[in-house]
């Protein structure tokens, strides 16, 4: 997949890099499918993070070269991966005990919609002829302490993904802590969406216009956080 430069805002890889900056050293992290998967490639030097994949591996490493690796060593997206030194394999009940039991520190997921209350919809558009498929998304949001969403600010049709109330079926209510979009970093607070950081070349009005709920402006401080 090529990563074409958008007219304004971050590319998908820049979004992944921005998320990676906020992953604390020593965390146990689960990365969802899509842009979240790319986050691992951008972890800042000097930090060690252990990646969990819910199909039964802690210590997941990068994908091997094409046609290499083992078809029975895969990630949750069913892509071949590697196991780093110190890795462990386990069965599904143990894997989801790690998730549901609150042992995974951080999860990065994609989204169809996020509400101002932190409700997440990311598994179904609710269309009647669609084959419903949920995987581990509901377990992850119910059990992992911190949930980051990384997603385009708007759909391809230009509809905001950040909304007052989700219209798509929920993955979980009040679960999202922070959103990293191509336009901004936004926290979900008890007062609603709080702007934390704007992407380079993007101003508040531009983001607010493309957000389907009230967006609270920056509260002083630098525009780029710790980036």
């Amino acid at each position: 997949m090529t990563d074409t430069t958008p007219a304004i805002g971050l590319t998908r890889d820049e979004m992944a890099r921005r998320v990676a900056l906020d992953i604390p050293d020593g965390s146990y992290v689960n990365l969802g499918i899509g842009i979240p998967e790319r986050v691992a490639a951008y972890l800042p030097e000097g930090r060690e993070v252990i990646y969990h994949t819910e199909n039964g591996l802690l210590g997941m490493g990068p994908s091997p070269e094409l046609d290499e690796g083992d078809p029975e060593l895969i990630n949750a997206g069913k892509r071949r991966v590697t196991a780093l030194e110190g890795a462990s394999f386990f069965h599904h009940a143990d894997s989801f005990a790690m998730i549901r039991g609150g042992h995974i520190d951080l999860c990065v997921l994609g989204a169809l919609q996020v509400s101002q209350h932190g409700d997440l919809a990311n598994w179904s558009t609710g269309e009647s002829d669609a084959i419903p498929a949920v995987g581990g998304a509901m377990d992850l949001v119910a059990g992992v302490r911190t949930i980051y969403v990384v997603a385009q600010h708007c759909t391809r049709a230009g509809e905001p993904k950040l909304v007052e109330f989700c219209t798509y079926p929920l993955t979980g209510p009040a679960v999202v802590d922070r959103i990293y979009s191509d336009l901004a970093v936004i926290d979900v607070t008890s007062d609603g969406f709080q702007l934390v950081e704007l992407a380079p070349g993007v101003d508040f009005a531009y983001v607010a216009q493309r957000t389907g709920a009230e967006l609270l402006p920056l509260r002083g401080g630098s525009l780029r956080g710790d980036a």
Partner: protein
């Protein structure tokens, strides 16, 4: 003397009956017991309820069983996979029913089924459409839903090494659901790449203790689903 080896895949699956609940190990192609599934297709049992995380791909293994019209119901978390076309067609035409279960809830239901736990409460799915029709209860100010343990008449699983007692070692992420399915099924049938004498597996390393295993078949060079799909293979 305990020796759980069966002469062939055909012999091992011979008593799977119409209407049985069959748990099938594997997450995507990792751990999928293709040879046992193909033996089940040959055997002819029908009206099966199948428990698996997915619904197979291409026209081999689990997808072939579904395509042959043997599966009346799937219990799974993610019936959509690359190259998965068989299940969607049968689901849309109403010929195969679907019970959609969040992946962790599916795993815990199977674990509970094998551990003698009839039901449990979980936070997963609270406030979502998958909570519908389930009992909700609050513990320490948090809501949970009631889920029931799940057991099977048979489990078909794949491993790397087995001994005659049924102690098992798996291959990497091919382990996935197999250890808990072995616990949850009345009869657990294993295809193993290698079968060794008791004592050859270090007891400290055994993943599935033999008590959960009933029959073992040696399949030394198991087919790999993605390879068969790439070749355009179709079973039978």
């Amino acid at each position: 003397m305990i020796d759980k080896r069966a002469a062939s895949s055909d012999e091992a699956v011979a008593d799977i009956f119409d209407g049985a609940t069959v748990m099938v190990g594997g997450f995507g192609e990792a751990g999928s017991p293709i040879e046992l599934i193909h033996a089940l297709i040959d055997q002819g049992a029908t009206d099966l309820t199948v428990v698996n995380n997915n619904t197979g791909s291409g026209e081999v293994g689990l997808a072939a069983l579904i395509r042959a019209g043997r599966v009346s119901k799937m219990i799974c978390s993610y019936p959509r996979t690359a190259n998965s076309t068989v299940f969607p067609e049968l689901y849309r035409s109403g010929r195969t029913a679907l019970e959609l279960v969040p992946q962790g809830t599916l795993a815990e239901r199977i674990r509970a089924g094998g551990a003698g736990i009839p039901a449990f409460y979980t936070p997963t799915s609270v406030g979502t459409p998958l909570e519908e029709g389930k009992e909700r209860r609050t513990f320490a100010h948090r809501d949970f839903v009631l889920e029931y343990g799940l057991s099977g008449d048979f489990a078909l699983i794949k491993c790397r090494v087995a001994d005659h007692h049924g102690n098992l070692l798996y291959n990497k992420t091919a382990r996935n659901f197999s250890p808990i399915m072995a616990m949850a099924a009345a009869i657990t049938i294993v295809q193993s790449g290698e079968v060794v004498a008791p004592g050859e597996i270090d007891p400290e390393c055994v993943v599935t203790p033999g008590i959960f295993v009933d029959r073992i078949v040696t399949v030394s060079n198991p087919a790999q689903e993605s390879q068969l799909v790439a070749q355009g293979a179709s079973y039978p």
